[in-house]
């Protein structure tokens, strides 16, 4: 490995290019990490496009000239050429921040012919300051954190190789720590994508510094030829993410006094009306990245100050993509700790299970047991270390148990949930931050044991219970195998069942009403029950399930 004590311009140009090559290799993995600020899966592409724009504007430099007299182009010239290229080419949140990092670096290397480790370290500090300045509300746990902590953790007392080694180490530590700073990362079981992209670039730069220069082409970026998936935003969609809006605004002499104009008015405005704002001024150009629901308002406001050089507005729903399980080695999305598979029928009930945290809800139940293959397919769609299975039925549990032994992609734990209520409560009480799977299972099992579930359905034959006699066609309330109420009136059967389930001594009752039950019947039942059980908290859900008109879950 070659040692470099003085960084010159051809070396730096080669490092930038190798940074882009490395990011090109890691691009997909970086995309797949993207969950913040919105999960649109384009961080890797955006950063790569930004860096490529920087590389494209480098003055022609020949790597073979490194160390020779002809390399006397100043380091600062290369740094500032890269920085201007990135200014124009910057895309996306992390891309714009990346362009500021290199702008800060260029500023720190101003007038330098060459730089040693100490000078480069100072320039990195300027890069940190510039990056933080470009984000009005800095969010820790992102690219800026990885840069700052990386720069702070370096040792600049040796040569540049040593500096870069310590930088990469510190960046890696910082990157691994990002989920602790940003809950959305932790929830998704990923590290920050922008931070990962930055580390990738610096890895490539380090490779070039140590003489490992590859001659492969920089990977193409997909964002330049986007495939627009129109189905992702239909006439029934709601605008959930807004528009990613980016532009370069040329401040106009005819509109503002260029000498005294303070760009802060623009930044403050953007910060008030938008999110994920990254903005900075370079001469008379203002670069803006903002997420907004009404881009028109922002454009009109901006035209008070200048005119647009470039403009890009995208509905972020179209960018939003489901990250897939990937095979890229560099930043493999770490599997999340817990995945959840359960079984239910009825659209409302299935949605409710998704809402409470089930990754996969297999359609099925008492009259339709899922197959082994259904379970295996569901497991395969989840990237998790442990998959907790809630069968919600004794028969289905047996099928699930068999499947568990067949699947090798994760540790499968089949929990003994025998009813919808037990499953729902069990899933809702999984503490996803608790790394100890045994503890989680114990506490979930305890919660499930404390729950009692009762159902109201129509009797399909005559039956005799301990306490009630049932005629075919009656509404019947039961729990497990126990018949607890019977009536020709559904509401009466429900009320009697609730009483027999011991509502008076319970704290919470969830009700899922079935597809046969009108909403107003269910609501008036809740009102009556609430009057009767003042201390019971009742939560009503439209389960739309077949067969069971009411499912009552008491805790």
């Amino acid at each position: 490995m070659q040692k470099t004590t003085q960084l010159d311009s051809p070396t730096f140009a080669t490092m930038l290019r190798q940074g882009a090559v490395q990011l090109g290799r890691d691009k997909k993995a970086v995309n797949d990490l993207n969950v913040f600020p919105i999960p649109d899966g384009d961080t890797g592409d955006n950063m790569l496009m930004t860096l490529k724009a920087g590389c494209a504007s480098l003055p022609n430099s020949n790597p073979s000239l490194r160390g020779t007299k002809q390399s006397r182009q100043k380091l600062s010239e290369v740094a500032s050429a890269a920085s201007s290229g990135m200014l124009l080419g910057a895309r996306g949140n992390s891309g714009v921040i990346l362009s500021r990092i290199f702008a800060g670096l260029a500023n720190g290397l101003k007038d330098m012919v060459e730089a040693d480790a100490k000078t480069f370290a100072k320039a990195m500090q300027a890069a940190v300051d510039e990056a933080y300045k470009s984000v009005p509300v800095p969010v820790e746990g992102t690219i800026i954190t990885v840069l700052r902590e990386g720069a702070a953790g370096t040792d600049a007392c040796g040569d540049l190789n040593h500096y870069f080694e310590t930088l990469l180490e510190a960046m890696q530590v910082s990157l691994d720590h990002t989920p602790e700073l940003l809950p959305v990362l932790k929830d998704a079981g990923v590290v920050d994508s922008g931070g990962a992209g930055l580390l990738s670039i610096f890895r490539g730069m380090n490779d070039a510094l140590s003489g490992n220069i590859s001659d492969e082409e920089i990977a193409p970026t997909t964002a330049s030829t986007p495939t627009i998936e129109l189905d992702k935003f239909t006439e029934n969609s709601t605008l959930e993410f807004g528009y990613c809006t980016e532009f370069l605004l040329r401040l106009m002499r005819s509109k503002v006094d260029l000498g005294t104009f303070d760009e802060k008015v623009v930044f403050d405005y953007l910060n008030k009306v938008g999110e994920s704002v990254v903005a900075f001024r370079e001469g008379t150009i203002i670069k803006v990245h903002v997420h907004t629901f009404t881009p028109g308002a922002i454009l009109n406001e901006m035209q008070k100050y200048g005119e647009f050089l470039t403009l890009k507005i995208e509905n972020m729903a179209l960018q939003h993509h489901q990250s897939t399980n990937q095979d890229n080695a560099s930043f493999k999305v770490p599997p999340k700790k817990y995945g959840v598979v359960t079984v239910a029928s009825g659209e409302g009930l299935i949605n409710a299970f998704h809402e409470i945290g089930a990754d996969e809800v297999i359609a099925g139940g008492q009259t339709m047991n899922p197959s082994t293959q259904d379970f295996l397919d569901a497991f395969a769609r989840i990237n998790a270390q442990h998959i907790l299975v809630f069968p919600n039925n004794k028969n289905i549990k047996m099928a699930a148990d068999q499947t568990a032994e067949l699947y090798k992609g994760a540790d499968i734990h089949v929990l003994p949930s025998a009813t919808i209520g037990e499953g729902y409560y069990g899933i809702g009480s999984i503490d996803r931050d608790n790394a100890n799977v045994e503890e989680v299972i114990t506490s979930v099992t305890e919660i499930m044991q404390s729950v009692v579930t009762g159902m109201v359905s129509t009797a399909i034959r005559d039956a005799e219970g301990d306490q009630v006699n049932v005629h075919m066609g009656d509404y019947v309330g039961y729990s497990g195998k126990q018949l607890l109420s019977d009536s020709l009136n559904r509401v009466e059967a429900a009320k009697a069942l609730v009483e027999r389930l011991g509502a008076a001594s319970r704290d919470v009752m969830l009700i899922f009403f079935g597809e046969q039950v009108p909403q107003n019947e269910a609501e008036s039942l809740v009102a009556d029950l609430q009057t009767q059980y003042k201390n019971l908290e009742i939560m009503l859900n439209n389960g739309q399930q077949p067969i069971y008109d009411y499912i009552f879950v008491l805790c």
Binding site: V137, K272, I356, I427, D507, V508, N535, E537
Partner: protein, 289 residues
């Protein structure tokens, strides 16, 4: 002269401000694209309408104020030769105060004679409200700003607030509560019990199943931790669940006597953007937080 400032995150209304001679700083929140300044962009806070909007799925955000905004509030006072006493919500929950101090640095250079007294209530909503009224009492009793700042050093840590919220997605999004178990308890009636610690940060310290038990636990804290409870106000803050607040008030009066001074406030929309609807908190005077 001393000008007494508070802010809308402290749940105090313009009407009350007029009564206690308080100037009110409006802390903004954003719905969709619209930045809304409480009591500037509307006269009365229609809390039911606001929290219904949250129930229907809207998640407002909040943002820090600009330096200019702070300057606009404070500079006229300094220019008129007045000093300022500002009782504000917890600096542990927002970075707006960093910006405020930047504004003050500049004003200090311009008005070196003027004084700025700051009381960080290390709280939100009902907790701040309680301390704002305590300070109003002290001013009325003729205490100086210096004396009140000294009082606050001892007394602010003696005003705890314990609360629960219904739907954790609001807190989870803002990431401002530590120790929350990563469960979906809101869907199954399990409520975390949260309090504001000595650093003014929100920490989850346990959970209760069902609203009745959650209310009972808050009332139990007043019994267990309370000190000279009846010599001070007990403030119940709620985010659009007046029935639950009334039940808490009933239980408090049952325990401490009908002459207990209980005030019920509605959580302002800016704090409400973080805690969501159907939350309840109780602030009282205690041995410690």
């Amino acid at each position: 002269m001393l000008t007494f400032f508070s802010d809308t995150d402290c749940d105090i209304t313009p009407k009350e401000c007029a009564a206690y001679n308080i100037k009110l700083i409006s802390m903004p929140y954003t719905v969709g694209e619209q930045v809304i300044y409480p009591y500037i962009d509307f006269d009365e806070f229609d809390s039911h309408k606001f929290y219904d909007m949250l129930r229907a799925g809207t998640m407002p955000t909040t943002s820090a104020m600009s330096e200019e905004a702070y300057t606009q509030y404070f500079e006229p006072e300094f220019a008129a030769g007045n000093d300022i006493l500002y009782v504000h919500f917890s600096s542990g929950t927002s970075n707006t105060f960093t910006i405020m101090h930047q504004a003050l640095e500049k004003l200090k250079a311009k008005y070196p004679e003027r004084k700025f007294y700051e009381i960080d209530t290390l709280g939100i909503s009902a907790l701040c409200y309680n301390i704002v009224l305590e300070v109003a009492d002290l001013l009325k009793a003729g205490k100086t700003a210096e004396e009140i700042v000294e009082w606050a050093k001892v007394e602010v840590p003696k005003f705890p607030m314990y609360f629960f919220a219904d739907d954790l997605k609001f807190f989870r999004r803002s990431g401002r509560v530590s120790g929350l178990a990563a469960t979906m308890g809101g869907f199954i009636g399990i409520r975390p019990i949260i309090h504001l610690n000595d650093e003014g940060k929100m920490v989850s310290i346990g959970k209760e199943t069902g609203r009745a038990k959650a209310i009972a636990r808050l009332v139990q804290y007043v019994e267990d931790l309370g000190e000279d409870v009846k010599a001070h106000r007990v403030v119940i803050g709620h985010s659009d669940c007046p029935d639950i607040a009334a039940e808490a008030k009933r239980q408090l009066k049952e325990k401490f006597g009908q002459d207990l001074n209980v005030i019920t406030t509605v959580v302002n929309p800016t704090i409400g953007s973080h805690c969501g609807p159907n939350g309840l908190g109780i602030c009282f005077h205690a041995k410690h937080r």
